[in-house]
């Protein structure tokens, strides 16, 4: 741990702050959130709903600009979308008017590059979508759609894969299957993965570290190391250590949920409303 922290982080989140301007006023989504993601590790981000997990991920992707602070990729500040970063979105986010092949070619079309056929064929085989290239998204199950989305994200060989609650809409069996697939792909490619999830089990299964965010505004509350060996079997996932860790993280998040009884907004405003 101490040796790893001396190397340049793959992703360096430095006091990231994000304010959204909404109709009902400014909304502080992230407040000086700091976090390092090391090369080749899987980091999961968990936290109560609306804690800014997705905001943090979108800022990492360069799709959203931070209000203050910075996010560095290999030491260079991210100011816009970067080809080294692949994203897997909530729901599969496939384009329904394109078949799988055309969906996977989409990034290459945008970039004006020739698709790397051999690599794509390898990926399709890896996720078990051989022979489905001509199918349209509506003809596929949710799990298959998300597999295709993973292939699309990996097609450009990103060095970082950002996954935004990718399996939230899937049933729990499919979800476990997809988790094993992500682990396999990671063992294959060692791509740095930032994984956002609501499921603590999923976070522990996949991650080297689990980051717990606070309720809005999002800040890092705790970081847990997950030292279990890979590939992680069902036996490992059933051990007391995993159970205890799950409970600890759950308590953190539930504790956070209890907190909002205290006013979220500055008390001055509440005083003004009720004189």
């Amino acid at each position: 741990m101490s040796t790893a922290s001396t190397t340049t982080p793959k992703l360096g989140v430095q006091a990231a702050t994000k304010v959204y301007q909404t109709a009902s006023g400014d909304l502080l989504a992230l407040d000086r959130c700091s976090l390092d993601v090391r090369p080749n590790e899987i980091v999961s981000i968990v936290g109560p709903s609306g804690c800014g997990k997705t905001t943090l991920l979108w800022s990492m992707s360069g799709l959203h600009r931070l209000t203050a602070g910075a996010i560095l990729l290999d030491g260079k500040e991210i100011t816009g979308p970067r080809p080294e970063i692949g994203i897997v979105f909530q729901e599969a986010n496939l384009l329904p008017w394109r078949n799988l092949d055309a969906n996977i070619n989409f990034p290459f079309e945008i970039k004006g590059e020739k698709p790397d056929r051999a690599w794509i064929a390898h990926l399709l085989n890896r996720v078990g979508l051989d022979g489905f290239g001509g199918k349209f998204p509506r003809e596929l199950s949710g799990g298959m759609q998300q597999r295709a989305a993973i292939v699309r994200a990996l097609a450009l060989k990103p060095s970082v894969l950002l996954m935004d609650e990718p399996f939230g809409a899937l049933d729990s069996f499919t979800r476990e299957e997809m988790n094993r697939l992500v682990e396999e792909i990671w063992l294959d490619t060692k791509t740095t993965i930032v994984f956002i999830t609501h499921s603590i089990e999923e976070a522990i299964f996949l991650s080297d570290r689990v980051v717990v965010l606070t309720t809005r505004p999002g800040r890092v509350a705790k970081v847990y190391d997950v030292p279990f060996p890979r590939p992680r079997s069902l036996e490992i996932m059933a051990t007391k250590e995993v159970f205890d860790l799950t409970n600890k993280i759950k308590m953190d998040i539930v504790g956070e949920r209890v907190r909002p009884i205290a006013p979220e907004r500055p008390s001055a405003e509440i005083v003004r409303i009720r004189p």
Binding site: Y20, Q21, A29, T54, W58, H64, P81, W97, F106, I110
Partner: protein, 283 residues
């Protein structure tokens, strides 16, 4: 810049636009079921048609309904067959007006819809005028257009374009307004330009609505073309209608009506098939 981002949202409901539950494939009986399967079905359909048409024929003959009120189907069919060489050129004139007027109206409507939806503020300013264009029967302008452009093709083509254009535009605009922020984010994550986002995300998403607009526009165009022909000028199917009815040649009159119905159905089937081919991803 940073404050302008929207809070990431991934609800199933798409923001913007209305009347989004468009399905070309569900618009007709063509879509119901996988088509005609057996000879028995064909026989049943034909039998019903024969009974209805034969029944009308029989009833008209039994009650001695005079031809100037309603000619029997047999004499309409005969008139259609016999008079077709005389009607055919007029069908050609009407098609010229319809196709050229529709092409102009559709192109202008599509371009305006694409441009206007890029600027929400401009859209608010223009919206009431578009509504006036959509709701005003453009037929009303035909006498004025004839006064200005004479009895040739010009006033009719202008009227068709004025009728079709706003219909295409209002539907296409609804299509272009269907923003799916996740899909746009996907394109942006690969560094897509505004133009790429338009052609690869917005346009395909709008296509089902655009096809609906084109279909309605074409049907309104046909309506307006025939109406304009009835107002003035010595050619076109509309002119045949007024001419035959003034001479009380009712079988011929109904033969023209039959041709017009067929034209309308062909327009419908054409866009239905295009929709089935290119927009069937939206179910």
């Amino acid at each position: 810049m940073s404050g302008g981002d929207a809070i990431p949202e991934f609800s199933k409901a798409k923001s913007g636009g209305d009347g989004q539950d468009v399905s070309l494939t569900n618009l007709s009986a063509f879509a119901s079921g996988p088509g005609i399967k057996s000879g028995a079905e064909v026989a049943a359909i034909l039998a019903v048609a024969v009974i209805i048409i034969g029944g009308i024929e029989l009833a008209l003959r039994i009650f001695h309904v005079p031809q100037y009120i309603m000619p029997p189907p047999s004499s309409i069919a005969y008139a259609l067959f016999d008079e077709f060489p005389l009607i055919a050129p007029h069908l050609g004139y009407t098609l010229v007006e319809l196709v050229s007027g529709f092409a102009i109206g559709a192109i202008v409507g599509l371009v305006m819809a694409a441009v206007i939806t890029q600027f929400p503020f401009a859209e608010k300013i223009v919206a009431p005028y578009i509504l006036i264009l959509v709701t005003t029967p453009m037929l009303a302008l035909v006498p004025l257009l004839i006064l200005r452009f004479g009895f040739g093709y010009t006033p009719r083509i202008i009227a068709v374009a004025l009728a079709a254009g706003p219909m295409v535009m209002i539907n296409a605009a609804t299509g272009f307004r269907r923003v799916d922020s996740a899909k746009i984010a996907l394109a942006r994550s690969y560094g897509a330009s505004t133009l790429q986002i338009f052609w690869k995300i917005r346009a395909p998403m709008a296509l089902p609505m655009i096809l609906v607009g084109l279909m309605i526009g074409a049907i309104f165009g046909l309506l307006t073309a025939v109406g304009a022909e009835m107002v003035g000028g010595g050619f076109g199917l509309g002119n045949r209608l007024t001419s035959y009815s003034s001479m009380i040649q009712m079988p011929q009159f109904f033969a023209v009506v039959l041709i017009l119905s067929t034209l309308g159905i062909l327009i419908y089937v054409l866009f239905f098939l295009i929709g089935k081919k290119w927009a069937s991803w939206e179910t």
